[in-house]
Point group: C2
Chain length 218, copies 2
């Protein structure tokens, strides 16, 4: 059972996550609320096992929390598409109504809505709509290998769902949505030095680079 407020916090954290823990005041800004209110809610979400929270250290979603956040995103984007496709809304007037509709609790409704729309993979703004299991269609088929030095990008997915690989990503705090920057490319073995989030600079092998789908942002 999650309340409307909780869902909005999860969604905000999900949106702001980029490999590093998200700070309290970023969340406050995103939700147009105050830091003190956020701290309070973080404690509650943490107790429910939806986020990892350490005082003064920011938060990240747990698997459970991320799953929930993604379902809210799924509903939001499905409703946006519904409004545009079936009710002739302009894609600019769709957001605030979808903000309300995304909190309707009925799995059946969500799945049938998706079906009505032809199980779409992208919403009217071109954002991917996660499927019922939380899987995203890839925005692009560009892999990290193809980026030049200094490029910035967001991880949009992985090519092969190998368990060891996923574990490695987890270890490096690289998940879908993580922002990164190519610092340098090593000519010798085609490995890359990349900056994940603000501070962490790491080396990744060419094999890893070729297996990571990204969407360039710069």
């Amino acid at each position: 059972m999650t309340t409307l407020a909780e869902e909005n916090y999860l969604k905000a954290i999900y949106k702001l996550a980029n490999g590093e823990p998200v700070g309290t005041s970023k969340i406050a800004e995103e939700l147009a609320t105050r830091a003190a209110s956020v701290t309070e809610m973080l404690i509650k979400l943490s107790a429910k096992g939806l986020i990892n929270y350490k005082k003064y250290k920011g938060v990240s979603l747990t698997g459970k929390g991320r799953k929930l956040a993604i379902q809210v995103v799924r509903k939001h984007r499905l409703w946006e598409l519904f409004l545009v496709e079936k009710l002739r809304f302009g894609w600019d007037e769709v957001h605030e109504v979808a903000e309300q509709l995304e909190h309707i609790q009925s799995e059946k409704l969500t799945e049938r809505l998706s079906e009505l729309l032809g199980n779409p993979q992208f919403d009217p703004h071109g954002e991917p709509i996660p499927d019922k299991h939380g899987k995203f269609a890839h925005h692009s088929v560009e892999t990290l290998s193809e980026l030049p030095a200094k490029a910035e990008a967001i991880i949009t997915g992985v090519k092969e769902q190998n368990a060891d690989f996923l574990q490695l990503l987890d270890q490096e705090s690289m998940t879908i949505g993580t922002k990164l920057r190519v610092v340098a490319i090593t000519a010798f073995d085609a490995s890359m030095r990349i900056k994940v989030g603000k501070e962490n600079e790491i080396s990744v092998s060419s094999k890893v680079c070729g297996n990571l789908y990204v969407k360039r942002t710069k």
Copy 2:
């Protein structure tokens, strides 16, 4: 601005209204809450001009309150129909989702939804869907004149929207949805003695009877 809780109270009062003021504990029962909570809310709704409330005397909706309640009913029934017609829900599994959807605030959404469904006049349960101005389609074309003695019925509408006539109805606390019972028919002038609500027994002329649409309940 009405909150979700307020809307539910208005809807309950609307549903329970039958010409007489509605009692606190009836509302409590309808909303699965306690009488004390109801009293509190009644004071608030009264301050907002949505109900007429006198301590210990029960409540009735004001014009403003009724309009609001009817819009909630409209949305509820439109969503029910949508779920059944467009998403293949069974009409028995529709109610609780519609309870959530009915509170979505967007006039545009409501009107477009109605349009998508072909501006329907009845929901899947056969209940009439009020139009955007709050007007109900008549369930039947039977008028009060046609009922035999002892029949019970609900007022579903009026034939001619004459101002004097409507004022008369108002005076007698007869509105759409009011339950009544035919006590006796006067052979001489075809006027009727009817019981409105629990106690009020009144006489109505044949002209009035012929102008009132009703739906028999017994």
